[in-house]
Symmetry: C2
Protein backbone atom coordinates (compact mmCIF):
# COMPACT_ATOMS: atom_id res chain seq x y z
CA UNK A 1 0.00 0.00 0.00
CA UNK A 2 1.27 3.43 -0.86
CA UNK A 3 0.62 6.96 0.21
CA UNK A 4 1.01 6.47 3.96
CA UNK A 5 1.93 9.57 5.91
CA UNK A 6 3.85 9.63 9.19
CA UNK A 7 1.39 9.02 11.98
CA UNK A 8 -1.01 7.06 9.82
CA UNK A 9 -1.90 3.41 9.56
CA UNK A 10 -4.04 1.27 7.30
CA UNK A 11 -7.27 -0.47 8.16
CA UNK A 12 -8.50 -3.17 5.80
CA UNK A 13 -12.16 -4.12 6.10
CA UNK A 14 -13.33 -7.31 4.40
CA UNK A 15 -16.68 -9.08 4.46
CA UNK A 16 -16.12 -12.67 3.39
CA UNK A 17 -18.46 -15.17 1.80
CA UNK A 18 -18.45 -18.84 0.81
CA UNK A 19 -16.25 -19.73 3.78
CA UNK A 20 -15.88 -23.01 5.72
CA UNK A 21 -14.65 -23.95 9.21
CA UNK A 22 -16.44 -20.88 10.53
CA UNK A 23 -17.48 -22.63 13.77
CA UNK A 24 -14.00 -24.02 14.44
CA UNK A 25 -12.56 -21.75 17.13
CA UNK A 26 -9.24 -23.61 17.36
CA UNK A 27 -8.69 -23.31 13.63
CA UNK A 28 -9.63 -19.63 13.65
CA UNK A 29 -7.20 -18.97 16.52
CA UNK A 30 -4.43 -20.52 14.45
CA UNK A 31 -5.47 -18.51 11.40
CA UNK A 32 -5.34 -15.24 13.35
CA UNK A 33 -1.91 -16.14 14.73
CA UNK A 34 -0.64 -17.00 11.25
CA UNK A 35 -2.19 -13.88 9.75
CA UNK A 36 -0.42 -11.66 12.29
CA UNK A 37 2.88 -13.34 11.46
CA UNK A 38 2.29 -12.98 7.73
CA UNK A 39 1.75 -9.27 8.19
CA UNK A 40 4.97 -8.93 10.14
CA UNK A 41 3.07 -7.94 13.28
CA UNK A 42 3.80 -8.67 16.94
CA UNK A 43 1.04 -10.74 18.53
CA UNK A 44 0.02 -9.85 22.08
CA UNK A 45 -2.78 -12.39 22.44
CA UNK A 46 -5.67 -14.07 20.65
CA UNK A 47 -9.08 -14.09 22.35
CA UNK A 48 -12.00 -16.05 20.95
CA UNK A 49 -15.58 -16.69 21.97
CA UNK A 50 -17.70 -19.43 20.48
CA UNK A 51 -21.46 -19.07 20.57
CA UNK A 52 -22.27 -22.78 20.78
CA UNK A 53 -22.31 -25.84 18.53
CA UNK A 54 -22.87 -24.85 14.93
CA UNK A 55 -22.82 -21.16 15.71
CA UNK A 56 -20.18 -18.58 14.99
CA UNK A 57 -17.05 -17.26 16.59
CA UNK A 58 -16.12 -13.74 17.61
CA UNK A 59 -12.49 -13.03 18.20
CA UNK A 60 -9.54 -10.74 18.05
CA UNK A 61 -5.78 -10.86 17.74
CA UNK A 62 -4.45 -7.94 19.75
CA UNK A 63 -1.20 -6.73 18.24
CA UNK A 64 1.52 -4.32 19.19
CA UNK A 65 0.48 -2.69 15.88
CA UNK A 66 -3.31 -2.63 16.62
CA UNK A 67 -5.56 -5.65 15.84
CA UNK A 68 -7.12 -8.25 13.60
CA UNK A 69 -10.75 -9.08 14.39
CA UNK A 70 -13.11 -11.70 13.02
CA UNK A 71 -16.78 -12.47 13.45
CA UNK A 72 -18.22 -15.53 11.70
CA UNK A 73 -21.68 -16.75 10.69
CA UNK A 74 -21.31 -20.42 9.67
CA UNK A 75 -25.02 -20.61 8.87
CA UNK A 76 -24.40 -18.19 6.00
CA UNK A 77 -20.77 -19.06 5.21
CA UNK A 78 -19.84 -15.46 5.99
CA UNK A 79 -17.32 -13.62 8.16
CA UNK A 80 -16.46 -9.99 8.83
CA UNK A 81 -12.73 -9.30 9.15
CA UNK A 82 -10.80 -6.18 10.15
CA UNK A 83 -7.04 -5.84 9.82
CA UNK A 84 -5.80 -2.59 11.34
CA UNK A 85 -2.09 -1.94 11.74
CA UNK A 86 -0.32 1.26 12.65
CA UNK A 87 3.07 -0.03 11.50
CA UNK A 88 4.60 1.51 8.41
CA UNK A 89 5.79 -1.83 7.02
CA UNK A 90 3.01 -4.30 7.88
CA UNK A 91 1.55 -6.28 4.98
CA UNK A 92 -2.21 -6.29 5.49
CA UNK A 93 -2.86 -8.06 2.20
CA UNK A 94 -0.67 -10.95 3.35
CA UNK A 95 -2.74 -11.25 6.53
CA UNK A 96 -5.97 -11.28 4.53
CA UNK A 97 -4.58 -13.93 2.20
CA UNK A 98 -3.88 -16.20 5.17
CA UNK A 99 -7.44 -15.74 6.44
CA UNK A 100 -9.00 -16.38 3.03
CA UNK A 101 -6.91 -19.52 2.53
CA UNK A 102 -7.60 -20.80 6.03
CA UNK A 103 -11.36 -20.43 5.64
CA UNK A 104 -11.57 -21.22 1.92
CA UNK A 105 -13.44 -17.94 1.63
CA UNK A 106 -13.71 -15.18 -0.94
CA UNK A 107 -14.06 -11.44 -0.44
CA UNK A 108 -17.56 -10.07 -0.93
CA UNK A 109 -16.85 -6.46 0.05
CA UNK A 110 -13.52 -4.86 0.82
CA UNK A 111 -12.45 -1.35 1.75
CA UNK A 112 -9.30 0.28 3.06
CA UNK A 113 -9.16 3.26 5.39
CA UNK A 114 -6.30 5.45 6.41
CA UNK A 115 -6.25 5.81 10.18
CA UNK A 116 -4.70 8.87 11.80
CA UNK A 117 -2.97 8.60 15.14
CA UNK A 118 0.22 10.63 14.94
CA UNK A 119 -1.01 14.20 15.14
CA UNK A 120 -4.29 15.99 14.91
CA UNK A 121 -5.93 14.21 11.96
CA UNK A 122 -6.54 17.41 10.02
CA UNK A 123 -2.81 17.95 9.74
CA UNK A 124 -1.96 14.60 8.19
CA UNK A 125 -4.91 13.96 5.84
CA UNK B 1 -28.83 5.05 11.54
CA UNK B 2 -31.16 4.13 8.74
CA UNK B 3 -31.11 1.97 5.67
CA UNK B 4 -29.95 -1.26 7.33
CA UNK B 5 -30.81 -4.43 5.45
CA UNK B 6 -31.38 -7.85 7.01
CA UNK B 7 -27.99 -9.48 7.46
CA UNK B 8 -26.13 -6.20 7.72
CA UNK B 9 -24.50 -4.34 10.57
CA UNK B 10 -22.88 -0.97 11.08
CA UNK B 11 -19.23 -0.25 11.69
CA UNK B 12 -18.31 3.20 12.98
CA UNK B 13 -14.66 4.22 12.56
CA UNK B 14 -13.43 7.24 14.50
CA UNK B 15 -9.96 8.71 14.87
CA UNK B 16 -9.95 10.90 17.97
CA UNK B 17 -7.79 13.86 18.88
CA UNK B 18 -7.26 16.15 21.87
CA UNK B 19 -7.92 13.30 24.32
CA UNK B 20 -6.74 12.77 27.88
CA UNK B 21 -6.36 9.73 30.16
CA UNK B 22 -5.04 7.81 27.17
CA UNK B 23 -2.51 5.86 29.26
CA UNK B 24 -5.06 4.93 31.94
CA UNK B 25 -5.94 1.31 31.23
CA UNK B 26 -8.38 0.99 34.12
CA UNK B 27 -10.29 4.07 32.99
CA UNK B 28 -10.36 2.86 29.39
CA UNK B 29 -11.66 -0.55 30.50
CA UNK B 30 -14.52 1.19 32.29
CA UNK B 31 -15.18 3.39 29.26
CA UNK B 32 -15.41 0.36 26.96
CA UNK B 33 -17.77 -1.36 29.38
CA UNK B 34 -19.96 1.73 29.63
CA UNK B 35 -19.87 2.24 25.86
CA UNK B 36 -21.10 -1.30 25.25
CA UNK B 37 -23.94 -0.74 27.70
CA UNK B 38 -24.84 2.59 26.10
CA UNK B 39 -25.12 0.87 22.73
CA UNK B 40 -27.39 -1.80 24.15
CA UNK B 41 -24.81 -4.49 23.48
CA UNK B 42 -23.96 -7.63 25.44
CA UNK B 43 -20.39 -7.57 26.74
CA UNK B 44 -18.42 -10.82 26.58
CA UNK B 45 -15.15 -9.45 27.95
CA UNK B 46 -12.77 -6.49 27.89
CA UNK B 47 -9.10 -7.16 27.15
CA UNK B 48 -6.48 -4.42 27.45
CA UNK B 49 -2.73 -4.18 27.02
CA UNK B 50 -0.68 -1.26 28.25
CA UNK B 51 2.65 -0.56 26.61
CA UNK B 52 4.40 0.90 29.68
CA UNK B 53 4.36 4.07 31.76
CA UNK B 54 3.32 7.03 29.64
CA UNK B 55 2.64 4.89 26.60
CA UNK B 56 -0.63 3.89 25.05
CA UNK B 57 -3.21 1.18 25.46
CA UNK B 58 -4.56 -1.32 22.96
CA UNK B 59 -7.78 -3.01 23.82
CA UNK B 60 -11.06 -4.50 22.79
CA UNK B 61 -14.51 -5.11 24.17
CA UNK B 62 -15.72 -8.35 22.62
CA UNK B 63 -19.48 -8.29 22.27
CA UNK B 64 -22.19 -10.76 21.40
CA UNK B 65 -22.87 -8.19 18.64
CA UNK B 66 -19.20 -7.92 17.42
CA UNK B 67 -16.71 -5.50 19.09
CA UNK B 68 -15.47 -2.11 20.19
CA UNK B 69 -11.71 -1.59 19.84
CA UNK B 70 -9.44 1.23 20.94
CA UNK B 71 -5.77 2.06 20.41
CA UNK B 72 -4.35 5.15 22.11
CA UNK B 73 -1.30 7.39 21.67
CA UNK B 74 -1.08 9.61 24.76
CA UNK B 75 2.01 11.31 23.36
CA UNK B 76 -0.18 12.77 20.62
CA UNK B 77 -3.51 12.92 22.46
CA UNK B 78 -4.97 10.60 19.83
CA UNK B 79 -6.91 7.35 19.72
CA UNK B 80 -8.36 5.13 17.00
CA UNK B 81 -11.76 3.65 17.83
CA UNK B 82 -13.91 1.07 16.04
CA UNK B 83 -17.48 0.29 16.99
CA UNK B 84 -18.87 -2.62 14.98
CA UNK B 85 -22.22 -4.15 15.86
CA UNK B 86 -24.28 -6.62 13.92
CA UNK B 87 -27.41 -5.97 15.95
CA UNK B 88 -30.30 -4.21 14.27
CA UNK B 89 -31.02 -1.98 17.25
CA UNK B 90 -27.61 -1.09 18.70
CA UNK B 91 -26.85 2.62 19.11
CA UNK B 92 -23.28 3.11 17.91
CA UNK B 93 -23.45 6.87 18.31
CA UNK B 94 -24.27 6.43 22.00
CA UNK B 95 -21.19 4.23 22.42
CA UNK B 96 -19.01 6.82 20.73
CA UNK B 97 -20.43 9.58 22.91
CA UNK B 98 -19.43 7.63 26.03
CA UNK B 99 -15.89 7.21 24.70
CA UNK B 100 -15.56 10.88 23.73
CA UNK B 101 -16.83 12.01 27.12
CA UNK B 102 -14.61 9.58 29.01
CA UNK B 103 -11.48 10.72 27.20
CA UNK B 104 -12.42 14.37 26.78
CA UNK B 105 -11.69 13.83 23.10
CA UNK B 106 -13.06 15.12 19.82
CA UNK B 107 -13.49 13.32 16.51
CA UNK B 108 -10.87 14.08 13.87
CA UNK B 109 -12.05 11.65 11.22
CA UNK B 110 -15.17 9.52 11.23
CA UNK B 111 -16.67 7.08 8.76
CA UNK B 112 -19.44 4.52 8.84
CA UNK B 113 -19.49 1.25 6.91
CA UNK B 114 -22.23 -1.22 6.29
CA UNK B 115 -20.98 -4.70 7.04
CA UNK B 116 -22.54 -7.71 5.34
CA UNK B 117 -22.85 -11.02 7.14
CA UNK B 118 -26.29 -12.42 6.44
CA UNK B 119 -26.00 -13.67 2.91
CA UNK B 120 -23.58 -13.34 0.06
CA UNK B 121 -22.76 -9.60 0.19
CA UNK B 122 -23.76 -9.05 -3.43
CA UNK B 123 -27.32 -10.00 -2.59
CA UNK B 124 -27.82 -7.56 0.26
CA UNK B 125 -25.95 -4.47 -0.95
Amino acid sequence: MTGMQPGEGWHLIADLTDGAHLDDADRIARILTDAAAAAGATLLEVRLHKFGAGFGVTGVALLAESHISIHTWPEFGTACVDIFMCGQTNDLDAALAVILAGLGATVGRQATHRRAFGKAPASVG
